[in-house]
């Protein structure tokens, strides 16, 4: 393919700017495209069924207009933006839509998506909140229902072998992403948060094997880069829901900070844990998607003391702060986001206990609202000194 020639970062930039370009090509070649929202859809199953999974993303530069005729404005602005773009034809290549039980904003709008877009296939993976054994068992049943239903749509059942293959492929892909993210441990980090976001967004829009080679070429390219000595800057971690647009990340880096790690989608939340290879592939998938991904949407039962409970919920963030030598954390929460919004006081005090300064920002996923955050971010950096 032509993209190796142009270099990884350039290709990522291309796919980021013209999001879905690769999918349109594949569509022309007769590939069926299944759109999905959020990190909780097991892509392994969609790919094993012979479909191309495509992450529906928003666009902070596109004013939300059409969506308002069907969807209340009290919905998460990211979901509204995604739906708005779909109505405007940006994703007119979809053959189906799969959404997980992630949050109210996604699930309560499912009917609107389903009937308005009128796609041949749609399915909601009604995953439980809980992570206890009976919840896990239930989740496996749900995944089998999904597997069956998607197989029906594909015209043939999804075999264990093909699942085993895709499980491996996506694990390899995650490993590659981790390798890329690790490049930011260094001082100075070898790759900017903006570049990372664009790379990961591009990766969401191309087949997994292409994603692996894209990531490979990016890593190679970045490692060769004779790092221009940048002046020492604050090392920032961003925590939030889905940040699929580089605008906010860029805003932070333009104020002269480095984003060295995140707890975001796409980001560590989505790529830090793998699927175990199990006799019944569904076992490994269920375990990973329900228990290993740590997200506000999931209710993790309290075992032991409250302090241990906080460790279980937020320990990974504390670990990142330590490993990536984070100076300050920015909590970037969308308006109307119940799963993340309710965690702010607890998470803020958890970070306080680590003596890590935190800045809580609420945003509405639009360029003007993001631009208004600049002063707060600069002040935060001035505060970190």
């Amino acid at each position: 393919m032509s993209k190796e020639a142009t270099g990884g970062l350039a290709t990522a930039e291309k796919y980021y700017q013209d999001y879905g370009a690769r999918v349109r090509e594949l569509k022309r070649q007769g590939k069926k495209i299944i759109g999905y929202l959020c990190a909780y859809v097991p892509l392994e199953i969609i790919t094993a069924a012979g479909f191309m999974p495509f992450r529906i993303k928003g666009n902070v530069n596109e004013p939300i207009t059409k969506a308002d005729t069907q969807m209340e404005t009290i919905v998460c602005p990211l979901v509204r933006s995604c739906f708005d773009l779909s109505l405007k034809g940006d994703y007119d290549f979809l053959n189906g839509l799969v959404i997980p039980h992630a949050c109210d904003s996604i699930c309560r709008t499912y009917d609107i998506w389903k009937y308005t877009l009128g796609l041949p296939y749609s399915h909601i993976i009604n995953m439980p909140h809980g992570t206890d054994d009976s919840s896990l068992k239930f989740f496996k049943e749900l995944l089998n229902t999904f597997r069956k239903s998607l197989g029906k749509f594909a015209g043939e059942e999804i075999s264990d072998d093909s699942l085993a293959q895709t499980v491996k492929a996506y694990n390899d892909n995650r490993a590659k992403v981790r390798e890329l993210l690790e490049l930011r441990r260094l001082e100075p980090p070898q790759i900017s948060g903006t570049e990372i976001t664009k790379a990961l967004v591009a990766a969401m829009s191309i087949p997994v094997e292409e994603s692996i080679s894209l990531l490979n070429s990016i890593i190679g390219e970045v490692k060769q880069k004779t790092g221009v000595p940048t002046k020492k800057s604050a090392r920032i971690m961003v925590v939030g829901a889905q940040v699929d647009d580089a605008a906010f990340i860029k805003l932070i880096e333009d104020t002269g900070a480095w984003i060295v790690v995140d707890d975001l989608c796409p980001g560590t939340r989505e790529y830090w844990s793998d699927v175990d290879v199990t006799d019944d592939p569904i076992d490994g998938l269920a375990e990973r998607y329900l228990r290993k991904i740590k997200c506000g949407r999931t209710y993790r039962e309290q075992k032991g003391t409250y302090a241990e409970y906080l460790e279980d919920r937020f320990g990974h963030i504390g670990q990142f702060v330590k490993d990536f030598r984070v100076d300050g954390v920015i909590l970037y929460i969308y308006k109307y986001c119940d799963p993340f919004g309710f965690e702010v006081p607890t998470l803020k005090s958890y970070l306080q206990s680590l003596e890590t300064p935190a800045l809580y920002l609420e945003d509405q996923y639009s360029m003007p609202t993001i631009a208004r955050l600049r002063t707060r971010i600069q002040a935060f950096l001035e505060m970190l000194g």
Partner: protein, 280 residues
């Protein structure tokens, strides 16, 4: 010979400049027009004229405020947060909580021995800002300056339920039509905005002493409405509008001293003070 430092604070509604050496030697306050760059030069020149100085006598210029990026002749841009903090800690050293009520936004700043340890700034809407008062004043057909005094003569206050500035205006207009005395309405408005401001600022653990800066500090009615909620009396600088500009000038002074003491290179991106056109 004395060194001079300038601070320029371009706010959404007002632009302020101060020149300091050991004390403030000149200060200018003008309304912010649409053309920030022109304005920045003009007010700087005014201030220099008052101080009887040439621009090259100014050792260091720090720009702050909403329009800080539009001050080409500044050596450095810093946020209002840092500048208000610095300004207050020099004017009112005992202060630990600063509430700045500006035209387009409102901030709460937490200080520990002069250093910013935490801050909040209103995001969602204009309901907690000076703009709110302006819009309401318009609706009531009175001058903004009158509001403070007016509210003090109120017999009983009316509660304004709408948070949205524009709808609050509508609400006020209706109540006015129902014959509610202006004074009572204004008091209600002050209560409403005080509630919004408190709601935000109380995210910081409020500690005494508390200072109020910015245009809002000039509104005695608003200050009176805020104090019972804060639970502390408030301190107000003599010229609350200048706090940010003074802080900016002082931060410039700090930077220069710090550089010379530890003989570090001093970042000075100084452009000549010249008339710039709107589009440059």
């Amino acid at each position: 010979m004395a060194e001079y430092f300038a601070g320029i604070d371009i706010g959404s509604t007002m632009t302020k400049v101060v020149i300091v050496n050991e004390a403030v030697v000149a200060s200018v306050i003008v309304a912010t027009g649409p053309e920030h760059r022109k304005l920045a030069n003009r007010v700087m020149e005014e201030a220099l004229a008052i101080a009887g100085l040439d621009f090259d006598k100014i050792t260091y210029v720090v720009a702050t405020g909403y329009g800080r990026i539009n001050v080409p002749f500044a050596d450095r841009q810093l946020t209002e947060i840092s500048c208000h903090a610095r300004g207050v800690s020099s004017l009112l050293p005992t202060v630990r909580t600063v509430i700045d009520i500006g035209g387009q936004d409102c901030k709460g700043i937490k200080l520990h021995n002069g250093q910013v340890v935490d801050f909040v700034m209103n995001d969602k809407c204009a309901a907690g800002t000076g703009r709110f008062l302006e819009v309401i004043a318009e609706g009531l057909g009175i001058r903004l300056e009158e509001m403070g005094e007016l509210s003090l003569i109120a017999k009983n206050e009316v509660s304004i339920s709408s948070t949205c500035t524009v709808f609050a205006e509508q609400e006020v207009v209706t109540k006015l039509a129902e014959g509610v005395p202006v004074a009572n309405l204004v008091t209600g408005v002050h209560k409403a905005i005080a509630a919004r401001i408190y709601g935000m600022v109380s995210r910081l653990k409020i500690e005494p002493d508390v200072a109020i800066t910015g245009g809002g500090a000039r509104n005695i009615g608003l200050v009176r409405a805020l104090e019972p909620r804060l639970g502390y009396p408030t301190m107000i600088p003599d010229e609350p509008l200048l706090t940010g500009a003074i802080g900016a000038a002082l931060l410039g002074k700090d930077a220069v001293r710090n550089a010379s003491e530890n003989n570090l290179p001093l970042a000075r991106i100084r452009h000549p003070l010249q008339e710039l056109t709107f589009f440059t």
